[in-house]
Amino acid sequence: MIDIKGILGPLSALKFLGKAPHTIDYPKETKKTADRYRGIHYNDVEACIGCGSCGTICENDAIDMVNVGFDPNKADTGFRPVVDYGRCCWCALCVDVCPSGSLSLTKDYVYVDDDPKKFLYVPGLQELGKVNIDSTDDLKELAKIEKENRPKLKEGERSWYQKDRTEGLLEFNRVPMKELPGSTRIKSFAEVVLGYTEEEAFMESIRCLGCGLCISACPDRMHIPDYIQAITERDYNSSANIIYENNPLPEMCGKVCTRQCETACVYHNRGDAVAIRWLKRFTTEQFDDFRTIINAEVKPLNGKKVGIIGAGPAGLTVGYYLRLRGYDVTIYEALSKAGGMTMAGIPKYRFPLDSLDKQISYMEEMGVRIHYNTRVGKDIMFDEIMDTYDAVFIGIGFHDPYDLGLKGEKEAKSGVISAVELLRRVNFGEKVDVGKKVAVIGGGNVAIDGARVSKRLGNVDVTILYRRRVQDMPADWEEIEGAEDEGVHIVPQAIPEEIMLDKNGKVTGIKYVMAEMVDDGKGGRPRPKKIEGSEKILPIDTLVGAIGQQADYSFLPDEYLFKTQDDEKSGSKKGIDTFWGRILVHGYNETTMKKVFSGGDMVNRTADAISAIADGLNAVKGIDLFLQGGKETKVNHSVTESDLDKNKLLDKHYKMKHENGKLVSVKLDLSGNIVTESVKIAKDPDELKKDVEKKEVNKSTDKANSKDKTMSYPTKNTNGETKKEEKKSKSKKKSKKKKKKK
């Protein structure tokens, strides 16, 4: 009846009397926290790009992005996260979603205080609890603290961080794009890139975090996150409409854009950026006719007529948007197809002939008249255009190639051709015989295109001679890769000397000399210096020159053309001022001549399609303003010093400076001291003052919708490389990937 076991059993618990207790005597001894314990935040403020993804994912709204005083540039907004420990729940979602991998949690967790104000904290710039923050507004001086006395991360303290790109919530690898293999590419002019399927596009578009850094990098300010979001929702109609808001030629940008936006993408510095160009292309491929899709409202004609010279990207953009605003537009195009440099200069395997048809037919159907094969200056006079149209837009682009400047170039009858010429002829279907061996001189996209096109004209052995190293070549690294895949030889550091001719002027070879790179001492690009006695001769049949183009101003009567760099009369209102071959334009792309606007490669230095479209869009606003009330004052047609500066027209070898009221352009040598006192631009001081006030007036109007026309090269991306080094590291990365693939 009595449960002996139940009574005596518990007494065995007394055996603990002898044993030492397992209590942790906390203040004296502590238990080692686990390696992954989620403690207080730490942010590597150098690697952080302030994109705000951590603030957006935080479900307790604990992270604000605060201006701590870093100066923003294209790849970094200058903001840093401030964490409110009155909200944070230490779930480390912010760490898992940080594209630059700078945010992490440390193992340290103890923090006790009696003042609730001390629980606000900028990780990586402040010690937790040392600073009493009254408002997140007054944190601007934090960036001034030098690196030494910022809180440093003790060794091995990082507990929760993205070890490599596979951890966390972000997909760093891009959906691979299907391409024709190298061998089949050469046989035909079929398009190399085959485009995304719907599923691939969905998987690629859903990667986009929507942070908007790419918008700041795009010269034309396209609403990239919005149309990528539309693709994610498979609503291609609205995606096309969003693109059409500021880009009437989506297929062109989808195939041949220089993708500034992808260099600024948050994924770029640790992985592959979102394939923004290919996604744009994917949207255009969904429709065979834009008429039914784009529902932009076309205003009725308001009686004003605008003439456009040159149906390049700039001209077409101006035509489209002016038509939308109700202007009667006619475009005069010298060639037989619209598209300008993109149609003529870019080979068909990258930009097929029919790719612009959809856009052009949509424009024509809307009422934009395009006269093909009418060269201004030959079939129709410039003065005739000036009289019939209320405003004129010049967008003829750079079609005129530079001559090579080599010995024997003049005497050569056959076998020397410019790349632009070669590409135009091939694009328009002419049969060009380049013989068996071809040499191409130059390193830009045009040179590469020339080489690959000549490769396709029968089995031709093509070599590219370039003065500097491979990584200095301005061409896209994808293009260089493509050329190498197709068997094009590239001879770097080769300076051409002389063209060998046979007796009846046919090219037989090219003499070039090797060079070694010499640092020019001021951090600029190293300059090639000839090595004596290293001449070599390369036997060739044709020589293709691709060292740059310039505009062909023959259509302009002389009295309208002023070369400001070498004559006095420039600056008057009558003519168009040009500076070393480029037209000087003011805020709304209006030239110094009344009623005349200009844009595209003739104006900006970036020389790519998207900048031309951006110029066109800007000119549209200018023309609209100009023709609205007919009051010229709104657009003042005079070029000031800041415009020149802003236009970045001046290479760093030239500098504008004021000398007793006159604008003076001065030529500098490499080390920055003045070499020759160059031409003075006539400008009396009071007129300058008027300009400045007018500028203020315009500035207010400008502010509303002004866009910076010229696009400066992104100086440094986040890991401190200039564009060139970045290309080099990118190519190394690509080659590494290739090795891995094999």
């Binding site: 207790p21 397992h22 209590t23 942790i24 005597d25 906390y26 203040p27 502590t30 238990k31 207080i40 479900e59 307790n60 709204d61 604990a62 409110d84 420990y85 009155g86 909200r87 944070c88 729940c89 230490w90 967790y109 103890v110 923090y111 006790v112 205080d113 009696d114 609730p116 629980f119």
Partner: protein
Amino acid sequence: MDDLKRPTLDSDFTCDMAFNKITKWAQKNSLWLLAYGTGCGAIELSPTMTSRYDWSRLGIRGSATPRQADLLLITGYLSTKTLKRVIRSYEQMQDPKYVIGFGSCTINGGMYYDSYNTIKQLDLYIPVDVYINGCMPRPEAVLSGLAYLKDKIGDKKADGWIKYKQNFEWYRENQKKILKSFNGDNMPDKYNW
């Protein structure tokens, strides 16, 4: 019952001078905690009071009733319904009494900042002496918070209860703003001994 003389505020300090050092030492080393886990942080109190971390070696002991307690732990968020009971318990505790706020919910709303039923800042309703950072603070953090409170008591800075008495109207008005039926639940307006 109110006619019995209550120690007025100013007398709290003067008559205390005589054997002040000893009482401070005693109050510091013996904190009796009201056994009231108001929020989700109470789960980290059980390891702290049991054998692994054992806060009884620091002189801290639980007490079942507010009368005997002099430390109130608000462990995390506080819903309005619990706030009414917390106020009642807090006022029934004997002076000098202290309050510790756990985690981020007592500072600025924590995870439930957008909830319609939890208070966002604790020190609007009852005076808080110490905040402990963490969601939920580990036993070590809790013990360091208690050590911090002991130092504060030691040099007479833990005056939350005096602050509560001095601007009592301010606290009561804040409480009434969110506790709608204040007198409906016979919550006294005056200091509810």
